[in-house]
Symmetry: C2
């Protein structure tokens, strides 16, 4: 294959990301979200929310990172963030996926996308930290906007949500403040179970407020 044919083969391959479904529901609750449309949505968040990053970020690199960050799920699947078992071998599965999928591209572009994806995974640069903050914030918004549908289905509690999402603070103090306030409001409104409550791990359906 010549250069353009390799590039088009990659573009065809990544169409499959549209058929990887996440635990999150659309705000309309009509169906689960897929990973391709999720990547568009978090990229748009970067465009709109970049002023809230803790440090000056290169927005263009944040957006490219977010466009690319979930492509490995074509082979590795979406690992639910609260799934401790699934997260044990996540790195290995995703590295193998990156090797296969990025290598469809011409070598220079394959290397470039691999570096961008590793940068996101390593979470060391201001761009990666901010991109990760947005990737955490999005499912939180989806839960807040669907009366905690995915939290309730999976028996998730307040402390799990606080612990999972505190990394937002590494990328944006302002967005973490916003997120924390809304997590506490979700508990008050009965759409997220407080760990202190006795009884069932399933939270009854509470009143929407978001």
């Amino acid at each position: 294959m010549n250069r353009i044919e390799k590039q088009i083969a990659f573009i065809k391959e990544i169409d499959k990301l549209k058929e990887v479904y996440r635990r999150s529901y659309l705000f309309s609750q009509s169906r689960n979200e897929n990973s391709a449309e999720h990547c568009w949505h978090v990229s748009m968040m970067a465009v709109i929310l970049s002023e809230h990053a803790n440090l000056n970020v290169n927005l263009s690199r944040v957006v490219e990172m977010l466009l690319v960050h979930d492509i490995v799920e074509i082979d590795a699947g979406d690992t639910f963030c609260y799934d401790e078992g699934g997260n044990l071998d996540k790195n290995k599965r995703e590295q193998e996926a990156a090797n296969r999928i990025f290598s469809i591209l011409p070598d220079d572009q394959s290397d470039r996308l691999m570096k961008l994806w590793r940068e996101y995974e390593n979470a060391d640069t201001p761009e990666a930290k901010f991109a990760i903050a947005l990737d955490r914030l999005m499912p939180l918004l989806h839960n807040l906007g669907t009366s905690g549908k995915s939290w309730r289905e999976n028996g998730i509690t307040k402390n799990q949500v606080l612990e999972r999402n505190e990394k937002i603070d590494n990328g944006s103090h302002a967005l973490w403040e916003y997120a924390k306030q809304n997590i506490l409001k979700a508990v008050e409104n009965g759409i997220l179970k407080d760990d202190a409550e006795p009884g069932s791990s399933h939270c009854p359906e509470g009143a929407g407020f978001f």
Copy 2:
């Protein structure tokens, strides 16, 4: 609402783009593509194919334009590119949609996105021309990869496809050469109807080659 609340309200609103469906089918043919995942896919095309733009383009602006270009479809719907009736009042419907949806944002960001969307629609800058070329190329690839499913369903012929897609040339001579070669191959392989053929406007299902 304060600034961050307006920004989040916009992010919630654009979730609806995931429920606007296009005529294009996924390569797997399992379902129609939606406009949100399409925006991700063409943004990824920009990242991979920018070397083929006729003029030097600011990739970051091309990507932002492609992320934003279909948001108006939340109100205006997706207008099939070969639908002459639907295209008559498309501009008016889309301008009203842009006014409503972008105005959810703080004023400075609303103005910025409106300008970006108008730049795309006006097709005057190198960035807009290249972005439009990618937006045309994508459904062509989907048709080539699904034995012309959407072409056949809508009785589309070779000359319509050539005419519709020649704007690719304004953004990228290289991609238009690639596209043309594959359109002609599609006719040879019987997945796209030649205008010279007599009889039914529906092309029989031909052999896949792409």
